[in-house]
Symmetry: C2
Subunit: 309 residues, 2 copies
């Protein structure tokens, strides 16, 4: 599980920061990549990475501002052109369906795969045996969602040596133990699964917020996350401006991270008014509040490691 | 007057060729830039050029396939964000209005300038004292237009020395002569404008065709043009494939240039199946039919010089 930043700028593309898109690489977990937002030229950024468009399984849109969605029709069309055949599900605020349908229709784009578009509301927007994704409305003038991606806890590793010592040979019984089901040995003893499993592996939590002013919902979504990805469009001394444009400052992002007791904060959605030296400054501002802060850059990868207990 | 290629690839963006957009730089002529098509990331390409988005005055769309239009909403939005205030007119096939209106509406994009969208038909789509732009339907499965841009002839340069010899001093009379109006000297003689003007400057003609199979309309639009920009999605030996996908081969583009008696042919819309060596080959194929052929590359500029008579 890794976060890969495809675009980390704000509003308009700049030479060093494209408009927003974040990939959550779940290659080991499910052979898939999930995208969060898809600004213009996200597919161009992907050309310079190892990400395969056909692996993209889900695209979560935080809000409908152009710098977060204008790359969507092109990415979907190219994925088809390049042989993508599996289902893609797009989640986003109401309006996303009209936008995509018109864009694909006027351009006569026939996708070779099934495209599902889900207009979301607050709450659980996706759940399967591996993950839950929850959405909450933030504070950005238009409907802007934050997402909390929760990996479910996984059973501990099978203590094979211990099972063998009990005389149980590898086979379907091992699978049962792994699934938490008690098993009977040939001589009639009952083996309790918990005695033959290591400690359960705690699922990881990531929070990816759309553009927003500081707000309670953001802190709620980020609670105890391994990583919080928070916008920091403005420097700490631009609180007025940030408020006016429904954005956050570095300091405000740091405060949210602290309140939510996350492990790590990553700032993104950086205005093009800041240059390379400015970026260092921005990260340092947030660190005065929350030391475990980094600032995102295009093509930066952040591994999300499993919690050792 | 220069042609500047912003994107010269076909279908999907590739590392060395972005999807289609061609700029006609009319900086000396009217301080403006016209675009022909606007594939995704055209604004990103512009970032690496001297073109100012606020100078973009007109955008002519050949057809609505995604690789020719998906960069339009982003370009228009960024032009506003970057302070563009003057009118922009977009010309394109029916459907372009819906596409743009929905894209700008769902993203809540409020442009600071007036945007005029004209859904065109065959015929003259624009005319003023400097230029005429004519459109004709080509053969591409969906409505795909070619454009013929005709610069109007300009009066010859004023023969100032000759006027001075007649005793006429610089002033409003000079302007009248330039405009072809006869002028009376103080001592009552009538000066005939044609005696005091050099030979008129012949207007230039450029033909920019959308995706197409070879067709009569293309040849009609290109008649005697200084430059014909013709797609060549396929190599000369792929005539079957070209026909099936409503495209042209290098040889077919060369034949069109020859029939239309243009001065120069420029191939574009090059499939990503061809690499750098392939490009040389493609140009050579066309040259067997029409020697004055070049192949476009991203960021290539082609000056359109004035005809010396
Ligand atoms: Zn926004
Ligand atoms: Zn086309």
């Amino acid at each position: 599980m890794d976060i890969f930043f495809l675009g980390t700028g704000a509003g308009v593309p700049a030479k060093l920061r494209n408009v927003t898109s974040i990939a959550l690489k779940l290659l080991e977990e499910r052979g898939a990549v999930w995208l969060f937002d898809c600004g213009e030229a996200t597919q161009h950024q992907i050309l310079h990475t190892s990400i395969k468009p056909r692996r993209i399984e889900k695209i979560f849109i935080t809000h409908l501002h152009g710098d977060h969605i204008y790359g969507l029709p092109g990415l979907l069309a190219s994925r088809s052109f390049q042989g993508g055949e599996s289902l893609v599900t797009v989640y986003g605020p109401p309006g996303i369906k009209d936008y995509l349908n018109i864009s694909l229709k006027v351009s006569r784009t026939c996708l070779r795969y099934h495209l599902e578009i889900i207009e979301i509301d607050e709450g659980t927007v996706f759940e399967d045996e591996q993950f839950t994704v929850e959405a909450r409305l933030l504070d950005h003038g238009i409907a802007s969602y934050g997402y909390r991606i929760v990996e479910k806890d996984r059973p501990g590793t099978l203590l094979v040596d211990k099972l063998k010592a009990e005389g149980l040979k590898p086979g379907p019984e091992y699978k049962k133990i792994k699934e938490g089901i008690a098993v009977k040995t040939d001589d009639g003893r009952v083996l309790n699964p918990s005695d033959f499993l290591g400690p359960p592996q705690k699922g990881r939590i990531i929070a990816i917020l759309g553009d927003t002013r500081p707000c309670e919902a953001g802190v709620f979504l980020a609670q105890n996350a391994s990583l919080l990805i928070h916008e920091a469009t403005f420097s700490g001394n631009e609180e007025e401006l940030a408020r006016e444009y429904f954005h956050s400052t570095t300091i405000q992002a740091g405060k949210a991270a602290k309140k939510a007791q996350v492990k790590k904060l990553c700032l993104t959605h950086i205005s093009s008014r800041y240059d390379k030296e400015g970026w260092v400054q921005l990260a340092e501002e947030a660190r005065t509040v929350f030391p475990e802060t980094i600032i995102a850059e295009d093509f930066m990868e952040v591994p999300i490691s499993i919690d050792k207990q």
